[in-house]
Symmetry: C2
Subunit: 296 residues, 2 copies
């Protein structure tokens, strides 16, 4: 049985409230904040919650909670890794909490991971307070650069990566340049033929305009048939319905080229929290109203 509490018992001072002025996710915090630092870009904080574990926020937007982060990180990393047959070089833009690289290093075929995070305070907070998420920062295959991802891809060599992951925060502050066509043209250029990119592509409900604009932008760059939206239940983000997008340079398809048997073995070996081969396939199935949003 749950105990229902009324609005009058809600004390905003005890909650982190992530809202867009219309809808909000609020997560109650225990005691004082564990960490707060204003970087040149944003305010990074860590809190202890009641049942979602520790929580990392940027400008009071929830980036991740220990209880719920696996759904996001497993789905953004393993979905491309179990369709592209030979990923050796990976570029991660953002991802400062470390969850995406934790998942990537489970794949022994990867030879090098370059991660470009603009804000070292995010990395520092995660290393100090979120050890189950940040546990791969010392991995020998990782080259961590504290730098601007937009400038990095402008200068990256042509055809130098098999997989690029855009693990960004929302399109405000330093991440806003990650939602532009010129950025994705550079990403496309630095992908090898057959390469894949997966992208945190916002919520069709919570950020409807950013979602639509990014989908349109990706289709312009990669071509209509090479952009594949997929959905994940991410309860640490407002409204819980969040999208990732899988794009390919040369047509590797997230379902047709999916190695179900390999994904089955991989899921079992790593005791994954969210991802399994059936979830991989089901995630690309879209409710009608979301199909309509991206068709227009």
């Amino acid at each position: 049985m749950t105990t229902k509490q009324s609005t009058s018992e809600f004390n905003p001072a005890e909650w982190v409230i992530d809202h867009n002025g219309k809808t909000a996710l609020a997560i109650r915090i225990q005691g004082d904040r564990l960490f707060q630092e204003a970087s040149p870009y944003q305010v990074v904080e860590v809190f202890e919650t009641y049942d979602r574990g520790k929580m990392l926020t940027i400008d009071r937007m929830v980036m991740c909670t220990e209880a719920d982060e696996a759904s996001y990180h497993e789905m953004i990393a393993h979905t491309p890794m179990l369709t592209h047959p030979g990923v050796k070089d990976v570029l991660v833009i953002g991802g400062g909490d470390g969850g995406t690289i934790r998942e990537l290093v489970r794949h022994p075929g990867i030879e090098r991971i370059t991660m470009v995070e603009i804000d070292e305070v995010v990395v520092k907070a995660s290393k100090q307070f979120l050890p189950t998420i940040s546990c791969a920062f010392d991995h020998p295959k990782l080259n961590l650069l504290i730098d601007d991802g937009i400038k990095f891809v402008q200068n990256a060599a042509d055809a130098s990566y098999d997989l690029v992951i855009i693990d960004s925060s929302d399109p405000v502050g330093p991440s806003s340049g990650l939602f532009t066509q010129s950025f994705y043209q550079d990403v496309y250029r630095c992908l090898r033929p057959g390469g894949v990119v997966t992208i945190q592509s916002e919520s069709p409900l919570f950020h409807p305009q950013a979602f639509v604009d990014l989908n349109y932008c990706l289709k312009q760059v990669f071509g209509f048939d090479s952009v594949h939206l997929y959905l994940v239940f991410i309860p640490m983000y407002p409204m819980g319905l969040w999208s990732l997008t899988y794009c390919s340079k040369g047509g590797v398809h997230p379902i047709k080229n999916f190695d179900y048997e390999k994904a089955t073995q991989f899921t079992k070996k790593h005791n994954l929290n969210y991802y399994n081969p059936d979830v991989h396939q089901a995630a690309f199935v879209l409710p009608n109203y979301i199909q309509k949003i991206v068709e227009n």
Copy 2:
């Protein structure tokens, strides 16, 4: 681009906050409430929101919003209707907003719908303020009874329904008796052989104990192999990840007995908002952590 607002700009008086003391969904309301009435059971209210349309609440728990209700109502009604080949008699317990019967009457094979809602104030509010949801209350196949659903099934004849839908609110107040084994034993008894029941079975994250207890209870009554959990993105409920459960008396299976072609035609004909045959199948795929919760 979204405009980020900080917690300090959050005025609780402008929001309906549906929380369990740990996590909350908050939806901002415009102007004064449209309706408020204390029934013998609960306080029923209707609000205008900013981008979710009108919203019905019971004791400040969100029951439905115009923008998001279709996901719930289509999935609780069409999933059984497109697997059971010959539903003639349907019993709906709860469902006072009318959305479930709106979806049911799209199926011409249904001969009679008996709906038992304990609180006529819910029906009244929905009829007055939510016309797109409550539009089937005058349907000639419907027999609406304002009565206690628990007593109703106790007195119902054996083997009298092909489909029962438990469209309840959360297990507090008058709905708490809908989460008990004796209630489901009566439901089982009044199902015809081959009959199906679908149930609002809570969130594994927001109501974890109620979710686990109900799943266990249903397996005791229907048998382990006849209880099938499925998931729906329901952004109008906290954390967005919500479950429904499909149980059968005699083993009709929600995937093996699914009529994909019929569902395809049905989806097209009715221009559905959420449900389609691929969504039907994908909904039964569970992330690993939810599989583990219900296996234990």
